[in-house]
């Protein structure tokens, strides 16, 4: 256990913020450059996880458990979001037999 604590103290909080910012940005780039609806969805998950990590880091550094509780709520939200989102994607695929989001901008089949 002393190991873990000393590891933590050696890493400044700023580096966690930096890591989360980079992962979040990768998620944003993923949403911007891809056309596959599922990959876009996965990029959104990546962004959510960047935020999760940051909340957990803040929670550990400030000694307050609320941050980690927020992460639970985000995970519950992500599970709900994935269930509905994938159902929508399956529906879109069934109707257009493609998951290219550019087909969706016509808003009709």
């Amino acid at each position: 256990m002393e190991n873990i604590t000393s590891t933590i103290q050696a890493v400044p909080l700023n580096h966690y913020i930096l890591l989360s910012a980079i992962i979040f940005t990768i998620g944003v780039i993923g949403v911007l450059v891809r056309r596959n609806a599922i990959i876009i969805f996965m990029s959104v998950e990546l962004m959510l996880n960047a935020v999760n990590l940051l909340l957990a880091a803040f929670s550990s550094y400030s000694g307050d458990a609320s941050g980690q509780v927020f992460v639970f709520f985000i995970m519950a939200l992500a599970a709900a979001e994935v269930a509905v989102g994938l159902a929508i994607i399956v529906m879109v695929y069934r109707n257009t037999s493609s998951i290219d989001i550019n087909i969706l901008n016509r808003l009709k089949w």
Binding site: T25, F72, M75, Y93
Partner: protein
Amino acid sequence: MSLFYVVAFLSIIFALLVIFTKNPVHSVLYLIATFFTFTIHYIILNAQFLAVVNFIVYMGAIMVLFLFVLMLMNLNTDTEPMKSTLLKVVGAIAGGCLLVTLVGSMKTLSSASTTAMDNTGIGLVENLGKVLFSDFLLPFELSSILLLAAMVGAVLLAKKDNKTA
């Protein structure tokens, strides 16, 4: 200390591979690897319960669903829709601008909070349970309604409509 940097490096590499791999199934597998590195991050942060929940919820449930849907559609590299190179470059530049903004705003922060961590027990199940069921009881109950609504919505959406079709 170096463990964090190794794992952070791996997180970034896998996250990049997620969005730049052409085959969607490989993307999902890289995302699983990314989430695994996140689990290690949580363990480094001494948030064991969060680590295990991340493991179960993300790697055990959400990513299996993604993989399941991808396999159901049987997508491959040759059916993968791609944006033009120009749009990709523009997207990457826009994302880079966001990163610059985030890092720039981080620079203005005071970097005082580097020596906390006296209470190492906050990530344990007992403490989180106490906080969750006292301070956050109402949000907790509400999230169960959210999950129920999502479940009903997903079943309704994915069901084949026999009457109209």
